[in-house]
């Protein structure tokens, strides 16, 4: 198994690149017109997990993007997935 130093030599530039890309994405969304949505909120909720002192940050980030509901609909309203849980739509009156 490689040491911390060896992993840093191997992967630091890639991790730095990914972090800057994320920062630029946040700036881009802020700068552009219109409203953001639940996906941007989900991203902001997940980001603090990166700084948590825990050994399972990847799992925790994945859990934060996950649907934690327990109800089972009879049929699907649509087929795809968006990467973050859709907010509950209140029933129409």
């Amino acid at each position: 198994m490689p040491s911390k130093q060896e992993l840093l030599d191997l992967q630091f530039i890639d991790a730095r690149h990914m972090l800057i890309n994320l920062a630029a994405f946040l700036d881009r969304i802020d700068r552009h017109p219109g409203e953001d949505d639940y996906r941007f909120a989900a991203l902001k909720t997940a980001i603090p997990i990166l700084l948590a002192d825990r050994p399972d940050r990847a799992a925790a980030v994945l859990e934060s993007f996950s649907d934690h509901s327990t109800e089972l609909p009879q049929t699907a309203p649509f087929q795809g997935a968006t990467g973050a849980t859709l907010p509950l739509i209140p029933p129409s009156e």
Partner: protein, 266 residues
């Protein structure tokens, strides 16, 4: 390096991809039945698809010295219409005895509905009735955690099921422990954007060991890489995994699981 690609949707790939796989050392690959990127308009579309999987693709692969095997089912995305799904499932028995059909898959859930779950359980029963291995798809992105829990709860109700003959695919960091702890095999899918990157898959190998794990590219019509497994093997080498460790995950493990079907030629 020789390896087995245990999950690839070659109907969506070019013949050039078969050549690339062969050049990279692929000796055998498995193609589970799946969604074509659009919903088929009739069960006849699946009949043709099952013929493609069992007749045409094995010949196309053989031209490059690759053994091609398949798994049959109606995929979860098209299983939300139970009437249609049962019509497609009624076609499966006439293909089950084909010499390259290994089992039932990739069944599972997509949006975690009651309809999908009912068809999933009927597929599991079909596999049990024919004593076949099962390959299970877990849902995408935000639906994966809930879907994995539902699948594990459902499988627990099949007392006759040999958990060693079931692989639950597309695990990630938040689902892998549940799958392995329950006694099933787990598959890690290497995708450029969703599912696992090579480095994340290697992290999971380092944390959970290699006893009941395999890696696959699941290359299909979407953003995917048919050479994802050999690329991950290279990354393992860069991270000081030995040749034996690499061989175990890319060749020995898929061979061990797949050999539970007598049709898989070792």
């Amino acid at each position: 390096m020789k390896y087995i690609e245990p999950h690839a949707h070659m109907v969506s790939r070019t013949t050039d991809d078969y050549e690339k796989l062969a050049l990279a050392g692929c000796e055998a690959l498995c193609e589970p039945a799946f969604w074509a990127g659009f919903d088929r308009s009739s069960a006849d579309g699946f009949y043709d698809y099952f013929r493609q999987l069992t007749e045409y693709e094995p010949k196309r692969a053989a031209k490059y010295g690759i053994k091609h095997y398949s798994w049959l089912c109606i995929n979860p995305k098209e299983a939300d219409d139970p009437g249609f799904a049962r019509e497609v499932m009624s076609l499966i028995p006439q293909f089950i005895d084909c010499p390259t059909v290994l089992g039932i898959g990739e069944i599972g859930l997509n949006k975690n509905t009651r309809n999908e779950l009912a068809i999933f359980e009927e597929h599991v029963q079909l596999a049990l009735d024919h004593d076949l291995p099962v390959l299970i798809h877990t849902p995408h992105l935000e639906d994966k955690l809930k879907g994995t829990r539902l699948i594990l709860d459902s499988l627990a109700s099949f007392s006759a099921l040999d958990r060693g003959k079931v692989i639950i695919d597309h695990v990630e960091e938040h689902t892998i422990a549940r799958v392995l702890d329950a006694g099933y095999w787990a598959g890690m899918t290497l995708y450029p954007e969703s599912k696992c990157t090579p480095n994340r898959a290697i992290d999971m190998l380092e944390i959970y060991g290699t006893e009941r794990l395999w890696m696959n590219s699941a290359c299909d019509w979407g953003h995917s890489d048919p050479l994802a497994v050999p690329r991950c093997a290279l990354e393992m080498k860069r991270r000081k995994h030995t040749a034996e460790q690499i061989d175990r995950i890319v060749y020995q493990n898929p061979r061990r699981f797949l050999s539970q079907s007598p049709k898989f030629v070792r």
